[in-house]
């Protein structure tokens, strides 16, 4: 078993798989994960605020940017996690697997971290494709796992802290010839033992090669491997692997290999970001080749999530008797569509920003919510309950904090991008407030209740 682990580790080794690469990609990945956690928490609390929580309504693009960053950083994490795991793969075959009680904590935290972060990125990405092939609820698991990921990451950083500080800077990591400087045994006993063992084996092999050379004198290719002690098929495979590693001992090759690895990682990360982030960030829109949404595409030139058909409002929304009720203390004031059109029209440019990351700013025209509330004799500094015509759905009834209710930019919108609202965008009237997630911009408004 020991030998198997050792050989597996040796086979998997390469000039790019060292503590310096792990440190470089680890800190990028760590930063991206923390960004994802913070932007994710912001999105979570916007949707499920704790008692007394208030949110900024300016700048109006705050949520658009925070959620765009959340999704984009998450996509960037995919190549970063892969190269980070690639850098440390040989460590999987460490022998003995557990040397010290701390190793239990370390290995457990790594297992937890790897499992949760892979699952988080896979399910997060597929959620933006609205594709859910797994047998558990996405939103709740995504939220719970985010804490587990950051927690296990903190434990992992704690365990590896001496190695991280040792290889923080490039100039401390490579010698003058560009060779990676192995950690001393105090920092990483397993790694140091591995290096010592690797050198000892090579030495032994060289000694045996010289000793056996008296009989059949082989053609001496300078690149040829020293014969490994193992025999049979395994021996041949191991010898072949060793010969593949021969080239890594040339510092020039190792440097090229390392440069190539870092460049590939950078291009892959930059590439997936550049070709998808256009769904969230207007300047990158022309590059949006693989994003699941395209700005400007859809009714009223804007994408949609839930259609009128899916929400089963095709009839109720087109009903000529439709009324918007404003309820204050059990008294309802009803507004017909014509009555709403009779208000002084207000124009605002506000973004629709989906939790799935895509967003687009639209030109909205409608009634200012503060004007509507005043017309119904309602205070404008209270929490509101918004109800949609939808028959069911998690966002049929939602609440709106007083910071949005009192913001003069919040509209009961009747038009979007110069046209009457499409039924898929919430005809006859929808809410549009600055800095809120799209799911809370209630479509097919039915009633607004002032809570006290």
């Amino acid at each position: 078993m020991r030998r198997l682990l050792y050989e597996a580790r040796r086979a998997a080794s390469s000039p790019n798989r060292n503590a310096r690469s792990a440190t470089v990609f680890g800190r990028l990945l760590g930063a991206a994960f923390v960004i994802c956690l913070l932007t994710g928490l912001y999105s979570h609390f916007l949707q499920e605020p704790l008692d007394g929580m208030r949110f900024p309504t300016s700048p109006v693009w705050l949520y658009q940017v925070s959620q765009g960053v959340h999704i984009t950083a998450g996509i960037a994490c995919i190549p970063l996690l892969l190269v980070k795991l690639h850098s440390v793969f040989p460590q999987l075959f460490q022998h003995p697997p557990i040397k010290h009680p701390v190793d239990v904590l370390e290995r457990a935290s790594i297992a937890l971290f790897v499992a949760t972060s892979i699952l988080q990125l896979v399910t997060g990405l597929l959620n933006t494709y609205q594709y859910y092939p797994w047998p558990f609820p996405f939103k709740q698991v995504h939220f719970a796992l985010s804490f587990v990921i950051i927690g296990s990451l903190a434990i992992h950083i704690a365990v590896k802290l001496p190695l991280i500080t040792r290889y923080w800077r490039a100039r401390d990591s490579y010698d003058a010839e560009g060779r990676f400087v192995e950690p001393s045994s105090e920092l990483d006993e397993a790694r140091a033992a591995f290096v010592a063992e690797s050198e000892a084996t090579a030495e032994l092999a060289r000694f045996r090669a010289v000793r056996d050379a008296d009989g059949t004198r082989r053609d001496r290719d300078p690149h040829a491997a020293p014969p490994a002690p193992a025999r049979g098929l395994t021996g041949r495979v191991l010898r072949w692997i060793d010969s593949a590693h021969e080239v890594d001992r040339e510092p020039g090759r190792a440097r090229v290999s390392r440069r190539g690895f870092f460049t590939a990682a950078g291009v892959a990360t930059g590439g997936v970001v550049a070709l998808t982030a256009g769904q969230s960030f207007a300047p990158l829109s022309p590059l949006n080749a693989f994003g699941p949404r395209q700005r400007g595409l859809g009714p009223n030139d804007l994408p949609i999530n839930r259609t009128a058909a899916a929400a089963r409002v095709l009839e109720t929304a087109m009903d000529p008797d439709w009324r918007l009720d404003v309820l204050v203390g059990g008294v309802a004031t009803s507004f017909t569509l014509d009555a709403l059109r009779g208000f002084d029209g207000a124009d605002e440019r506000l973004p629709i920003a989906c939790v799935e990351g895509w967003s687009q700013t639209g030109s909205w025209r409608g009634v200012r919510l503060v004007d509507l509330l005043a017309a119904a004799g309602a205070p404008t500094d209270q929490r509101l309950r918004l109800t949609s015509l939808e028959e069911k759905g998690g966002y049929r009834v939602t609440e709106m904090g007083p910071e949005y209710a009192s913001d003069p930019r919040t509209l009961v919108a009747l038009e979007l991008n110069g046209e009457p609202l499409s039924i898929d965008h919430g005809y006859p009237a929808r809410m549009i407030a600055p800095g809120r997630p799209g799911v809370l911009q209630t479509k097919w408004l039915s009633s607004i209740e002032v809570l006290s």
Binding site: S13, V114, L126
Partner: protein
């Protein structure tokens, strides 16, 4: 590949550093354990127990797919390339390898999108593109760029080598 560091280098920071390290470690571990606990509590609080089995299976599956399939395949390909590519210039080898890595990572991101599109999105504004075609075009672009970069590298190298050989 291995140059040993003098053992003094690791303890260069002295006792002060190690005390700082100990404190930071303690804080990080306490924070980490607390967050993992919080995550576990949130999970049990919001997810029904009959979903735990599926979740555990997917968590374990994530590790197995990476550690037992993806990573060994990458390691084997990397060995194969290093072994068979010994006669090729290392830089050229790495440009090609890097291009394949970039294409493979794009494929990992886009293939689920192709599957999701094939399953039928909820409306026309979700997954509006022909992602399969776009991925194929991307691979072609990567191949063309790789060829151009290799050609450029070889041309520049030839230019650099010539004057020095003249002098010899």
């Amino acid at each position: 590949m291995s140059a040993r560091v003098p053992s003094a280098a690791s303890s260069a920071g002295g006792a002060g550093t190690s005390r700082t390290v100990r404190v930071v470690r303690g804080v990080l571990i306490a924070l980490g354990v607390a967050l993992v606990g919080l995550g576990g509590w949130v999970l049990t609080d919001t997810v029904s127990p009959n979903r735990y089995g599926g979740l555990l299976l997917w968590l374990a599956g994530s590790v197995v797919v990476h550690d037992a399939v993806l990573a060994p395949v990458v390691a084997a390909v990397s060995l194969l390339v290093r072994r068979t590519g010994r006669r090729i210039r290392p830089a050229v080898l790495w440009i090609v390898q890097g291009a394949v890595v970039v294409g493979a990572i794009f494929s990992l991101v886009v293939v689920p999108e192709i599957v999701a599109k094939a399953k039928g999105p909820k409306n026309d504004t979700v997954l509006p593109f022909d992602y399969g075609l776009r991925l194929a075009v991307l691979w072609l672009v990567i191949a063309a760029l790789t060829a151009a970069v290799v050609a450029l590298y070889l041309a520049r190298r030839r230019q650099k080598v010539r004057p020095s050989t003249d002098q010899v």
